[in-house]
Each structure stands twice: as structure tokens, then as C-alpha cells.
């Protein structure tokens, strides 16, 4: 700016920010996590690519746990309320969040969703994030735990291609194991790849369609909620 110093543009100044673009969201996420803890609401952030069976898995999860916990579901989509209606038919409280074209949910949008659920009577809130393996991984929603679904037709190399998603997940559900005979999907290799990214992640094979493995997944959730409650 040396050429402009002293002229009418002299009012221009430089403000140092030095902050990560995600810092603001991370802070809000921490605040939301603390608030939900105080209210006794366990928030599960469920992520996956489109078509991996999130909604069907969710229906199975609700079926397995609805007698033990008061469940609320937030369905995030760019548009439409198809999923929220399906969930509502299962008898749990469900609301639709529209991201307005955005490819992920951030902590602020999650907060609005939680408020929409009126958490007063919800013990387990499940957030079905936008179907996408990239963006949701970068924006902390304030969830207590992160889960993702990888379906067999997507291939066992996904943990290599979307490392951040697998790094931030506490549990990876391998869905659609009923079609394993028809795909070159290596279950041992996928576990290796996941653990390379995240040694603590639990890998659970399931089939949401037949219900296989859902008991293991439901037990994982029960344990996590119990630990979280302390």
C-alpha cells in the first residue's frame, strides 16, 4: 500500500485475523456438545455417501432402541422431506432440516435442529447428515459420537479415498453384507484400512435390510450412551 499512503485512501488498515476458517464452527460445536451433555441428550451424527442405506439403518436402529430411549431424528437434506416422512411413520419424533444447497451441516444448523426437536423429552438425538463423505467430515456438528455407513457396493478402498471421514468416526457400519458374494469387497482389508486411519474406530458389519448385525450395533450405542452418562 506504500503508493497510497498519505492520499485519500489513507484510512485503509490491515487487521490480522490468523484464525482457521473452521475455528468459529469448532467453538460453536464445543458449546453445543456441553449444552447437550447438561440436558442429557446424546447426539449421534450419522454420515455416509448417498444410497448407502442411512435411512433403512436408522429405521432398524429405532426399532431396536425405541423402548429404551426417547429418540428424536433430524434429517438433513439439501431439499425434500422424503426421509423425514419415512422416519415419522416409525413413530419417533422427526424433523427435516434443509441445508439450502449446502453440502454439510454445521454446528449452528445442528443447534437449530436440536431446538426444533424440543430436546426436553429426547434422550437420543440422531442426525442424519447430508449424503457426502467429504464436507460433513470437516464441520464438527457438536455430536457426542460420529458414525458412518459404508455399503458393500461402494468398495473396500473408501477409507483410502476419504481419509478424514474415517479418521473422525467412532464407528463404521459396513452395510449391505447380504450382497457380499456378488462384489469384490474384502472385509479384512476394509478393517485394516479403517484402522490405519483411526485405530480406535469400531467396525461393525450389518445388513439393514435383513437386520443382521443390528443387535451388535444397538449394543455399541447402548454402551456408548452409558459411558457418556458416566
Amino acid at each position: 500500500m506504500e503508493s497510497e499512503s498519505g492520499c485519500e485512501m489513507g484510512d485503509i488498515r490491515v487487521l490480522e485475523i490468523k484464525e482457521s476458517v473452521f475455528a468459529d464452527n469448532d467453538k460453536r460445536a464445543e458449546e453445543l456438545r456441553a449444552e447437550l451433555k447438561e440436558k442429557g441428550v446424546f447426539l449421534l451424527n450419522l454420515m455416509s455417501s448417498p444410497g448407502s442405506g442411512k435411512t433403512t439403518t436408522l429405521l432398524r436402529t429405532i426399532e431396536a432402541l425405541k423402548d429404551e430411549f426417547k429418540i428424536g431424528v433430524m434429517e438433513a437434506d439439501i431439499d425434500s422431506d422424503v426421509d423425514a416422512r419415512v422416519i415419522a411413520e416409525s413413530g419417533v419424533k422427526s424433523i427435516q432440516l434443509h441445508t439450502g444447497g449446502m453440502c454439510h451441516l454445521d454446528a449452528e444448523m445442528t443447534r437449530q435442529g436440536v431446538e426444533g426437536l424440543e430436546v426436553g423429552d429426547v434422550e437420543l438425538a440422531i442426525l442424519e447428515n447430508v449424503g457426502n463423505l467429504v464436507c460433513p467430515a470437516e464441520f464438527d456438528t457438536g455430536a457426542s459420537k460420529n458414525a458412518m455407513i459404508l455399503s458393500v457396493p461402494e468398495g473396500h478402498d473408501k477409507p483410502l479415498k476419504y481419509p478424514l471421514m474415517f479418521q473422525i468416526c467412532d464407528v463404521v457400519l459396513i452395510n449391505k453384507i447380504d450382497v457380499l458374494p456378488y462384489f469384490d469387497f474384502d472385509m479384512e482389508l476394509v478393517e485394516q484400512y479403517v484402522h490405519k486411519r483411526n485405530p480406535d474406530a469400531r467396525v461393525i458389519p450389518i445388513c439393514a435390510k435383513t437386520g443382521e448385525g443390528i443387535d451388535v450395533w444397538a449394543q455399541w450405542l447402548r454402551n456408548e450412551i452409558a459411558n457418556w452418562r458416566g
Binding site: 500500500m1 485512501m9 484510512d11 485503509i12 488498515r13 490491515v14 487487521l15 490480522e16 485475523i17 490468523k18 484464525e19 482457521s20 476458517v21 473452521f22 468459529d24 464452527n25 444447497g101 449446502m102 453440502c103 454439510h104 454445521d106 457426502n132 467429504v134 464436507c135 470437516e138 478424514l164 490405519k196
Partner: protein, 114 residues
């Protein structure tokens, strides 16, 4: 992949910064972008142009992106190497026990305002 989303995040944040510092106009925003962050600069520039035209504070503002090189550390031989060229496997000793030292940053460095 989410250039428009992060553009909105940056602008929302800077609008708050502007309000706190009695800023009426932002002329230039400088970002630091790691080589292996998930943001693609040309996309970010077009999103910026589009969004800036809709917000008075950012009208005609310039976006400067400074690239930070990606560097990976090898636990095997304790050396570093350029991530983009060699990826996960250490070129010095062939080990796969490596992790990213820097290169996924996405920071707002400074803004030029009046």
C-alpha cells in the same frame, strides 16, 4: 467440494469482525490454504466473486490465497518429505508409518479494510 459453504463461513465470520472493529468496507482478504486441504482455489475464487457481489461489505473485494506446502513426517526414519509428490509412503525408507505435518490448513490470515 464445499467452496461455497466455506465462502459463506468466512464472510459470516468477517462480518462479525467488521462490526467489532467499525469496518465499513473490506477491500482484500488473505487466506492461507494448505496444499492438501479439501478446497480448490479456482472454485473458491468464483464462489467468492459470486457471494461478494451480494454483500455490501465485500463488494469488489479481492481474495488472495497463499499456498502452504504439504509436508509429511515419517516415523520410520524421522525425516520429512513433500506430501503431494510422494503421498503416504516415505521416499527415504519406504515406510507407511507417516503423518501429515502441515498442509491441511485453511486460515484467514488478514484483511485490508477501511
Amino acid at each position: 467440494m464445499h467452496e461455497l459453504g466455506v465462502t459463506f463461513h468466512i464472510m459470516d465470520h468477517l462480518e462479525k469482525v467488521a462490526a467489532d472493529n467499525e469496518v465499513t468496507k473490506i477491500h482484500r482478504v488473505t487466506l492461507e490454504l494448505g496444499e492438501v486441504s479439501t478446497v480448490i482455489e479456482p472454485y473458491l475464487q468464483s464462489c467468492w466473486k459470486w457471494a461478494a457481489a451480494k454483500r455490501p461489505l465485500f463488494m469488489d473485494s479481492e481474495l488472495i490465497v497463499e499456498t502452504l506446502p504439504a509436508v509429511t513426517f515419517c516415523e520410520g526414519c524421522e525425516k520429512t518429505y513433500p506430501t503431494v509428490e510422494y503421498g503416504k509412503v516415505c521416499p527415504h525408507c519406504g515406510s507407511e508409518e507417516t503423518y501429515l505435518l502441515q498442509g491441511n490448513e485453511f486460515n484467514i490470515k488478514e484483511i485490508e479494510v477501511e
